[in-house]
């Protein structure tokens, strides 16, 4: 597949291919409206508006606004960041209902899904063998808006750390743990995960400098990585793409192969595009576990400002692997 195309949001409408179902996710971030705003009035048959029911104000404002935008073709899909089963069931129901109405072509704005619900959605697409999916991702102009570089934050604290439903991995109890962290904006979150899992080996991934928001920010992250290298033995470094899922997948695969005979756990903390890359690898290799950490607090009021561009791309999801079809022990 070609590298995702970066296009001006204002040009999106003329470039987007026809699709039956548009899927998006309401959020406290302004970015959740960027793509929908451009696509208002496009001839979709159905629009699935996902919204986390445990953030009632998001439902009240963001989801309402989206519903208003798309009118009668819009359907609300209730997700819950505290209850992945609820999220999975709602998504499944919505996708199954669309498929049973012969709506097979999906367009997904992945920008403001949580990493976890995005991964669950992708697994459902794979299990249902949906093969026409296109993705959209809106860039951010700034994160933690207005805060000085050394005090920027998106979330605080780590709540529950759990495996992502559908990606339990295939751990071998006698093997040691290789934790691959795709570090993102908040480097300290990477350290928290490292403390949480106490792995034998850590691969600390740094987003490609070309994709970084600012050179200063890249420098700050790099510095933090240096600190982790001092504090922890057995830390390996690598870089990955934040804007090309297949390149991300390949970088991760290389990293997995560096340490055979390890249980592999990937924590995707960077852009949703790179999370998609992690999913691509885990969807083809059931041995890999993906994890997700809930946050105690979100920087709701100043999380981000939308950029002018979005990425628009298609990626084929791998077919279900034979191990997945194993019937019972």
């Amino acid at each position: 597949m070609p590298k995702p195309a970066k296009i001006l949001l204002t040009n999106l409408r003329e470039q987007v291919h026809p699709a039956d179902v548009f899927v998006c996710c309401a959020s406290f971030e302004g970015r959740s409206q960027s793509v929908p705003e451009q696509l208002e009035g496009v001839a979709f048959t159905r629009v699935l508006i996902c919204a986390n029911e445990n953030f009632p104000h998001v439902i009240k404002q963001g989801a309402k606004q989206l519903q208003h935008r798309f009118g009668s073709i819009a359907r609300l899909v209730s997700l819950n960041t505290n209850d992945p089963l609820r999220t999975a069931d709602s998504l499944q129901e919505a996708i199954d209902s669309a498929l049973s109405s012969n709506l097979n072509r999906f367009l997904v704005d992945i920008t403001t899904f949580t990493h976890e619900s995005l991964l669950i959605l992708l697994r459902i697409f794979q299990l249902r063998a949906v093969n026409s999916i296109k993705f959209l991702y809106t860039t951010a102009k700034e994160y933690s808006v207005g805060d000085p570089d050394d005090q920027k934050w998106l979330t605080k604290g780590i709540g529950e750390v759990r495996s992502v439903l559908g990606y339990p991995g295939r751990a071998v109890p006698s093997h040691k743990l290789h934790l691959i962290i795709m570090a993102g904006f908040e480097a300290d979150r990477a350290e928290r995960l490292l403390q949480e899992y106490e792995p034998s080996k850590v691969s600390l991934g740094l987003g490609d400098p070309d994709d970084s928001i600012s050179p200063d920010h890249y420098k700050a992250n790099k510095l933090f990585h240096q600190k982790l290298l001092e504090k922890y033995a057995n830390v390996l470094e690598f870089t990955f793409s934040c804007s090309d899922p297949e390149a991300t997948r390949d970088a991760l695969r290389t990293q997995v192969l560096r340490l055979p005979k390890h249980n592999v756990l990937i924590a995707a903390l960077n852009t949703k595009i790179s999370t998609l890359g992690a999913a691509l690898l885990a969807l083809e290799d059931d041995a890999i576990q993906l994890c997700y950490a809930t946050a105690h607090q979100y920087n709701e009021t100043r999380y981000s400002t939308p950029g002018d561009h979005c990425y628009y791309f298609a990626t084929a999801l791998p077919a279900t692997s034979p191990t997945h079809q194993t019937v019972g022990p």
Partner: protein, 602 residues
């Protein structure tokens, strides 16, 4: 640990990865303080992350014990099976599908047992059983071919079990057993995978092992073999907080069985153990079902013990790294500062006869010299940043009874020193101070957002706003830290205060915030005689890791203040107002009056 592999003598490595030889030379024996761990009997070991629990467990494993005692396996007093409970292996989200649907208990128990059984085989392999004439292997094969095979079949094993060849060595036999359980574990994972996206129950066709009908008899039988130690098997369940709720209840049911003579279960937690109920909703408790150790409490009551332990650990690490220095030399204090503090101490000594407060002159010197010095700095410079948090003694105090905190800071100091000077023979006081301060800052702000004056005003002005637990904890820390700083700068008879004791019964909303604080490591909980002398009350000690942040003297936390539940509640909701009152009206009128010394001075 091969020292050439490590760039940094203080880098954190998971104990699992450290060789028995390195454990022998690195481990500082602490079992005098924690003797229950080595004794038969179920034990809970509570301690914050990094307080050395896993290292203790690693030390008990047979490869280390054989080396330490220079003895064969059969001469040891126990066989310890290390069972690390990581988030990755047992607590899978898919398992939530079992709740109220399908055999939550039975399937989780089988899952847990399969995992423990693999770890049991790993321990047997680590123990390197000697079997020169193959007799042990033959006996083990006989057991496998009869009783064990039957036990497998009874649990519903339908796949053919592998044949154990007559030529199998004893290690080969253990490996075969390990493979059986590993395959079973994989089969279970495949089953759980099927649950992820289904709503109804999914037929389960694999075997089901229970603790009492499978694992316990297996372990008892193993114990009968001549190569085994005379004492019990220890199951070392490390970080059991990572079990899900039903798995925790299953483990508790195992504990409720009085099997200590054969199998003793040692459970480590980070104060977040989910329940003490068994699968039948009966509680297990201490001392009836298990003994209990709290590492933090041991080191709060025995401070010298902690200092010595860190000193030995640091010395061993430096030695292994080829640095021939005592910890006190490697982490020197800021000499000029210490000289000035000594001079103040001498002044206090001179004044003691006339206006002293303590029983002895030395009391006043210890109590007031450092606070007076810090206060004098603050008088001239607003930030107080010229006070240096440096010197081994101060660093040990700041690490608050948790070895990992010391090592983490030390590793960063080492890295910084190396990047500036290349060769490292000591850490300059400036770098010590800089790192310790930034660590305190990070400790606080990785959990909480920074409080700006504007936001605080807005939040406190909006009385209708319900603050979540995290924000209330943030406020409480801010209010107490600020109050303790005020006390340090006051002329109180004890200025080094890190603790509050409750005068009345805390309400649930106050308690839940403290509980969260304890879980995150901001507070340590203890008890103390109440004001009336009629019983005991809760005492919460603020971690001294935050001393540099609030500009406090970390070298003692002897003082404490009584405080009412209402005052705490105000601190949680309106920290700024609270601190304003403290400054205006004095500490005691806000908290409560009266203060006592917690510990004898060193």
């Amino acid at each position: 640990m091969n020292s050439t592999e490590l760039r940094n003598p203080f880098a954190v490595q998971t104990p699992e990865d450290i060789s028995a030889e390195d454990i022998k030379s690195l481990f500082v024996d602490v079992f005098n303080d924690f003797y229950n761990i080595k004794k038969p009997g179920h034990t809970f070991l509570h301690g914050p992350r990094g307080s050395g629990k896993s290292m203790m467990f690693r030390y008990l494993e047979p490869d280390c014990q054989k080396l330490v005692h220079n003895a064969g396996l059969d001469a040891l007093h126990f066989l310890a099976v290390y069972v690390p409970i990581k988030n990755t292996e047992l607590k899978l989200t898919e398992l939530q599908r079992l709740e109220n649907q399908l055999a939550n208990i039975v399937l989780n128990e089988h899952f847990l047992i399969t995992y423990v059984a693999v770890r049991l085989c790993i321990s047997l392999l680590k123990a390197r059983v000697t079997d020169e004439n193959g007799e042990t292997a033959a006996r083990f094969k006989a057991y496998y071919d009869t009783d064990l095979r039957r036990a497998f079949l009874r649990c519903g094993w339908t796949d053919p079990l592998p044949e154990m060849p007559p030529t199998a060595t004893i290690d080969g036999s253990f490996r075969l057993l390990q493979d059986i359980f590993t395959d079973q574990y994989a089969a279970l994972l495949a089953y759980f995978r099927r649950l992820a996206f289904t709503s109804g129950p999914v037929t389960y066709t694999g075997p089901l092992c229970g603790y009492l009908d499978f694992l316990l008899p297996l372990m008892k039988k193993l114990k009968e073999f001549a190569f085994m130690p005379s004492g019990p098997l220890f199951l070392l369940m490390d970080d059991a907080d990572n079990l899900n709720r039903v798995q925790t209840a299953i483990l508790n049911s195992w504990v409720s069985c009085r099997t200590s003579a054969d199998v003793s279960i040692k459970i480590s937690t980070q104060f977040n153990y989910k329940t003490y109920l068994t699968i039948n909703d009966r509680t297990i408790d201490t001392p009836h079902d298990f003994s209990e150790i709290n590492i933090s409490s041991v080191y709060t009551s025995n401070k010298r013990g902690y200092y010595d332990r860190v000193s030995q650990i640091v010395h061993k690490r430096l030695t292994m790294y080829g640095i021939d220095q005592m910890p006190e030399q490697f982490f020197p204090p800021a000499q000029e500062q210490e000289d000035k503090i000594k001079a103040i101490a001498q002044e206090l000594k001179a004044k003691w006869q006339a206006e002293g407060r303590g029983f002895r002159a030395s009391d006043d010197m210890v109590r007031y010299a450092r606070p007076t010095y810090i206060d004098s700095l603050l008088g001239t410079s607003k930030s107080g940043s010229t006070y240096k948090y440096a010197g081994f003694n101060q660093l040990v105090h700041i690490s608050s009874g948790i070895v990992r905190y010391f090592l983490e800071s030390a590793s960063l100091m080492y890295g910084e020193m190396r990047s500036r000077h290349g060769q490292v023979t000591e850490i300059s006081p400036e770098i010590q101070d800089q790192i310790v301060r930034s660590q305190a800052d990070q400790f606080l702000f990785s959990e909480f957002d920074r409080w700006s004056t504007n936001e605080a005003d807005k939040e406190e002005g909006n009385s209708a706003k319900v603050l979540d637990k995290t924000r209330r904890l943030r406020n409480l820390i801010q209010a107490l830290g600020g109050t303790f700083h005020q006390i340090l700068r006051s002329d109180a008879s004890e200025r080094r205060v890190f603790s509050v004791a409750l005068t009345d019964e805390p309400t649930p909303d106050v308690l839940e915030v403290f509980d969260l604080g304890v879980q995150y490591g901001y507070f340590h909980q203890s008890t103390i005689g109440n004001k009336e002398g009629t019983g005991r009350t809760r005492l919460y000690v603020l971690t001294r890791r935050l001393a540099p942040f609030f500009i406090l003297d970390p070298t003692s936390f002897a003082g404490y203040k009584f405080v009412t539940n209402d005052a705490l509640r105000e601190a949680m909701h309106k920290p700024k107002t609270f601190l304003g009152k403290v400054r205006r009206d004095g500490v005691d009128s806000v908290l409560e009056t009266g203060q006592l010394a917690l510990f004898e001075e060193e």
